[in-house]
């Protein structure tokens, strides 16, 4: 089969490059907006209310992811959000104080031996309290859409690499054919 490099091949690659650049610009804008909204949240509540003190510590706190990344057979990524456990919503919990006190010494010592991680609220917004300002909620939305963009960019980058690779292969084959042809004419 004669390799043919058509305009469509070229346009396909150029379109993908253009889309890739566009998505990168959007990602930069989204992350920029997210950071400025975080600063706005600090404006509304003060530095003491929005700072790293309220963040969980890995290894100490059990952090539940809000989204999971799947990898398909053809190495394409897809994101799906994890539904929060209805029992772990933000509500006032009653302490099982009496039950704790009645536990035997042996049971307590066994439990004390196991290092238990503290479970925090699943929605990171709730780490900063009940009075989270609108800007913090908007910042969270922006960073979530940044993650979606990153997944899109990764998939597009893979498609672009595949298209570029196909394009290079076609071009090389065509080059080989062009190199062979002058020999054939000479023989004629």
């Amino acid at each position: 089969m004669n390799p043919v490099v058509t305009d469509e091949n070229v346009f396909e690659v150029l379109d993908k490059i253009s889309d890739y650049e566009q998505l990168l610009k959007e990602l930069c804008t989204i992350i920029q907006d997210g950071h400025i909204l975080l600063s706005r949240a600090q404006y509304d509540l003060g530095y003491s209310a929005i700072n790293s003190t309220y963040l969980p510590e890995p290894g100490v706190h059990e952090i539940t992811p809000t989204s999971l990344l799947d990898v398909s057979e053809n190495d394409r990524f897809s994101l799906h959000s994890v539904k929060p456990d209805p029992k772990s919503g933000v509500r006032k919990r009653k302490k099982g104080g009496c039950e704790d006190k009645k536990k035997s010494g042996d049971e307590k010592s066994e439990e004390e031996k196991k290092p238990s991680k503290t479970k925090l609220a699943e929605d990171p917004l709730n780490w900063f309290g009940l009075m989270a300002p609108t800007s913090l909620i908007q910042a969270q939305t922006r960073f979530k859409s940044a993650i979606e963009r990153i997944v899109e960019i990764s998939n597009l980058k893979q498609e672009l690499q595949e298209s570029l690779s196909d394009f290079e292969t076609l071009t090389k084959d065509l080059q080989k054919k062009c190199d062979v042809k002058p020999d054939e004419t000479n023989e004629d």
Binding site: S39, R40, R91, R93
Partner: protein
Amino acid sequence: MGDMTTFNIDSGYFEGLVRGYRSGILRRNDYHNLVECETLDDLKLHLQGTDYGPLLANDPSPLIVQTIDERLKERLVHEFTHIRNQCVQPLAQFLDYMTYGYMIDNIILLITGTLRNRPIAELLPRCHPLGQFDELATISIAQSPAELFNAVMVDTPLAPFFSECVQDENDLDEMNIEILRNKLYKSYLEDFYAFCKKLGGTTADVMCPILAFEADRRAITITINSFRTDLLKDDIENLYPKCGILFPEGLKYLKNAEDREEVRRICERFGPYKDLYNGVGDGPNDKTLEDKFFEEEVKMLMLSFEQQFHFGVFYAFVKLKEQENRNIVWIAECIAQKNKNKIDNYIPIF
């Protein structure tokens, strides 16, 4: 109090001081200059030409925004402490009341930090200096509100505000901490309101509407934020301060509100909040509800300076300086992040 024949005996000098401090608050021209800055060093240079003077002179380049925030806070604390150290009763008690809100924030910060396994040495510098008290460092030993009260808070000025929380034997997890914060603040606000009412005169005339607005602001914000939690309606109602204009009818409606639109309709029924939601939205040129609250608060605080011989000027000065600090830090953040699209989203005072 507020009698023009007796006020100046004990408090006239301090009112004069506060009015002097007030005249140093940045004007629109100053903000225009700050907004034009390209770097934080330019901002530092322009601040030297204002009442702040050599505020940042001892901080080497490159500056960070947090340093600017700390220096601004130090200046405010210095001015407040200068007045507090010299005044007598009842102004001293009034100024102490102003610090209780910061104490509550510090307590919650320490408890939350302890829950996150942060060392106390890391947490104490983050506390607001106006909310410092001797027992602050021992907060981390408490496991429940009852223990917190019995072991630590019983001898502090905040002890009276723990009456609603001391029955609570629940562990201090993150949700209960938040409920504790709001209950403490509710008790504090109601107590402050009662104190101002008892002072009477112009102080009561000026301070009671300001505190009522603060109470309503908290009620509306708690309601809107409660939509994304599983808190019961009765639990939410227990967090509403009862010294606002919305008490009692408005708070009943707010308790039963199901979404933000309903909260908007409830606010529109009450005269002072009829126009609160004008211009509020999620669009790029819309304001947030928090911005509208800040604007309304600034208007009320500025009006308090139109009257003399009352304590409201002290409260207004501290809150206006805090607003100014927020404005300067916001401008600094926009400059530091090289994102000046929303640099004009500050609330000018003059």
